[in-house]
Assembly symmetry: D2
Homo-oligomer: 347 residues x 4
């Protein structure tokens, strides 16, 4: 069967990545691409790397243009998808790559985003361990799915196995992430200029203000945490894509290197797209560039009493567009890996 | 039908890229991967990005291990493939990604390489215009194919249309290429260290010593040139992959902007993997990262009396491994694009 | 003696670099820094790397604020310096880092810039060979100096020695430059975003439209050319600073490797800031990062009949701010190298 | 007065940086440069960016060549300086940029390095707060100084103010550092190749094995800690130089945002080379590139109960060669900032 697909926000990075991945999906057929200021232009004028779409022109992003498709991907700024999603066909599968439908708590929404609260959809991180089963169980048959925040899902996948197994302390989690600028989108901001970023690393949202924090806490609660606290610092580093998240947690009483490793390998046993590396190996972001893979390396630092989890993810794939397509596959009953690659483009 | 495949030099960049691409090829099945100093190791210990091959171990590179496969890809240092290829099965399709079987002229070989001369195989750049037809015509049914030099094929594809159409002068061609270091392989050389290359550009093989020069001249002769001369300067720039080749040629008498553009668009009309961009557009290497696409932009500089051709290619894909697989598809009678993507991984 | 200094455009890259260099100049004292949209802010809020200026606040860029200083550096957008310079004190030394006072030919100005023509000031590239002497001779005692275009001065220094000595043909020059994005300033343009540039090379102003072309031709005429033609293609590559210019020219009849090398080594004998490398050596941009040095490597390609000149320059130092300060030193009768470093910051 | 200087390890990154900085030092005169495998070559053949030293040739690194100078800088692999330093003149000022003379504890040495233990020299981080005064007090008149580890000094400067003031808990410190590859020297290792690092981030020495850990703990004990524990994870990111260290610590009981900020601003009040940024500002490594400056940004994350300290340092300057020269200035009674710049080379 072929599913008709519309992609909104097709001129941005997430929208472009959705299109790149869908080009290899044998059952998805892109009929409509929409944008805002670039509406009316050929898609390849804005996304010159998408050579298989030379026939498409960007339409205006509005409900009328998005209706009538089997699947609608929303890759819009925060606030915009919430507004438009109410107008879409009920029976369409709608996947929001923005933040509007990720948080269950209106208080969290108000504290970190503000504006209208749209309520949570099914969270699109299939492998995420929950106290019972995984998030995958909730995606089958879903018609409304919230693709995750790229940093949030990387950290949630990093820490949830230890929370669920009780081998780490949910209090006093500390995460520092090296991230590329594409996570910030095509926004024209001085600090995102190449001149500013080439050869330089910097921190932002220091001190607990990053919007992905409540999303991480929500995911960890699903894995069994009560009131997890996390110090979360993202660093902008000069690579176009990629997240390398270093997350540390205190060992729970009684936990040791063996029980720690078992917690993670058990959680991801049999998973295609989340792989725990052997003892002593740690991932590079290049290993997952362009791939829907999360690679996780694990160590126990006995002297510091902490587990250290290093995870590499491509923010635009496993962190956004790949998660969206993988979740769509599950929702539709297709083989989960359809159209997604496990191999990174390296070097 | 499934073809059994062996990849030698699987621990290097070209070998790794062959494997990455073959993972998406529905009819190729990798049975054997070989290496030299890394023999005995799991493939993913050396190529951690190739997650779909966690089951493979590197065998020793020798004829015994490579024999018995339908297809053998050689990704070995110059000199090594020539030696081993004589020992492979006659009926196997053998594709050499090294230089040993590219040059028809023993004098050129002696001048630019030296050592044993192995003779030329069919040259693996299907779209290359020849005075009659394209190089593709010679690849159907071939059993011995020489994948091109990445710089050479990029420049040959850039200039051959103008040579064949007679709109440019074959004398006094000038090409400067910005290239990433992966073209130099994993060699441990000081100038290839990240500390040396990050934030810096440099030239090498200045003054006519680069080994790809005779390969370009050979390709241009196939397109109708007699004794083309080319000033060829490669620049190392800080991107892991990619070639951006700026090639200029003097306008032939009577040629104008229209006849120039027609020469290139005619040459590549209907091609999937070589695309001429519209007037005023020029490619970025990011547009072809990971893709088997060559993008070509074209301008006529009236004041300077020169055509300027800017071509972007991923040196490891269209420049090497993708060309090898595309040529193998043709040789075997498979759809030419099988297993190859036209879309770049950008940003 | 201490000279009072004002720097306009102090929030931009050229202005910032002037301030960085002046901080090490024992006789220049920055009293006033001006900006446009950032006026009113502490300098270090906009230029956080300039730690020796934590006491300065950006004033509005206007003639009133710039008057009354011994030296005024203008680092303003094209058109703006021409307008303001008429209002400055006659006895002040005014150095324009913009384009407004570089071109002698009103026709060139009209063709490449347009708008009001302001006329040429003394051109601030001291080492530039002229048919008699060097450009330095015209800078002593000057009160109005035009700092060069960074690409233009790099190419002019690359080719002028050969023109003056008659060892290269002035027709059919070809230059390709790998340049970093800081030459384009802090402009908020999509193609200058880090996401777009990291890992990617691209060409711009292809086909003879770059504004530095007439400036190069003017400099080559000063060295003895009549009507030089040049194919000029700049490439954006992912390094924050630096120009690596590869310039080629046809050997003049009778010229050989020895006479070619002599032309360049004679032209720059005794120069501190322009150095010709020994046979077989070619520069990296990292070698001149932060330095006021132009490094030049030279080869003769006998087969192609061309001289190849590779020059490395820091676009913000020798290409702009360093050239401005070096020229100011000469104008004021100070030792030419005051406040300027010859050593690059590498790796 | 002019001091005669010898620099050993002059072909490496630390040695090269010493020479670059000393070129601007009015009282230091480099007489001898030594190397190992590069002995006999002109210095600029190996360090082409050091244009003010075109007259120097690399001698063999041995005690004979290093003796007879007022100041000897050792920039040698671990183990080598310890061996050679015993043979140097007693009255010379000897500054070791290696690890051999940093640790006071033989047990720490044995655990993290092994081999001969050479004992500690005065530690060359002048601004480091100690329970009484600063480390500067111990450097005046010293003749044997150990320049710090670049990561260690960055973290020690980040955390020592809070330890001394009692506003943070010495247990459960967590630091993640984004570092460039030049800290690893010119070693020819696969993971340091540009192809491997461009566009990629990775972690190393995960889980408590990094050799700078005991050096940090030692410095924190000097500031008043008893038995500090630290989880320490360095990340290799694609910038040639720079350290961005994100260090977090639990707030001590009773500490609040005001007392935290006061601890750091008091500790570094009046310092030229360690500057605490205003509330809400955080440093970029580009801000200190080439400079002897450590920039520190500070936040209190109330929800996580942690102080977050972000520090930017140029690993080769403030982290190594600049620290060495600053310490030498103090030892000799020269103005501390002689020859050192506070301004970074940005963008």
């Amino acid at each position: 069967m072929t599913y008709s697909v519309a992609v909104s926000g097709a001129s941005g990075y997430a929208g472009g990545e959705l299109l790149r991945l869908i080009a290899d999906h044998p059952e998805f057929d892109v009929r409509t691409v929409t944008a805002h200021s670039n509406a009316g232009q050929p898609l390849t004028a804005v996304q010159p790397h998408l050579r298989s779409y030379t026939h498409l022109t960007l339409a205006e992003t509005n409900a009328e243009n998005l209706r009538g498709h089997d699947i609608v991907f929303l890759a819009l700024p925060h606030g915009a998808s919430g507004a438009i999603s109410a107008e879409l066909d009920e029976h369409s599968l709608v996947i929001d790559c923005g933040a509007d439908h990720r948080l269950e708590s209106e208080a969290d929404w108000a504290a970190f985003y503000g504006g209208d609260f749209f309520g949570a959809w099914q969270y699109g991180v299939p492998e995420l361990p929950r106290t019972k089963g995984t998030q995958r169980d909730r995606l089958a048959g879903a018609t409304r799915i919230a693709a995750p925040g790229c940093n949030a899902s990387t950290v949630a996948l990093s820490l949830a196995p230890g929370i669920r197994a009780g081998v780490i302390d949910e209090r006093d989690l500390v995460t520092v992430l090296a991230v590329g600028p594409s996570g910030a989108g095509k926004s024209l901001k001085t600090h995102l200029l190449a001149s500013e970023m080439l050869g330089s690393a910097s921190a932002y949202a220091v001190g607990g203000s990053h919007r992905h924090i409540p999303e991480i806490q929500q995911a960890l609660r699903w894995a069994g945490a009560n009131a997890p606290t996390i110090s979360f610092t993202p660093l902008l580093v000069p690579m176009s894509r990629g997240i390398l998240a270093t997350s540390t947690a205190k060992l729970a009483p009684g936990a040791d290197a063996a029980s720690v490793r078992a917690a993670w390998t058990d959680a991801y046993a049999g998973e295609t797209f989340v792989q725990v590396l052997p003892e002593g190996q740690f991932p590079r972001t290049a290993d997952v560039l362009g791939a829907n893979t999360a690679l996780i390396g694990l160590a126990v630092d006995e002297a510091a009493g902490r587990v250290v989890v290093v995870a590499a993810v491509d923010n635009l794939v496993k962190g956004t567009a790949g998660a969206a397509i993988q979740s769509a596959n599950i929702a539709l009953g297709l083989p989960e890996a359809t159209g997604l690659s496990v191999n990174g483009v390296a070097p």
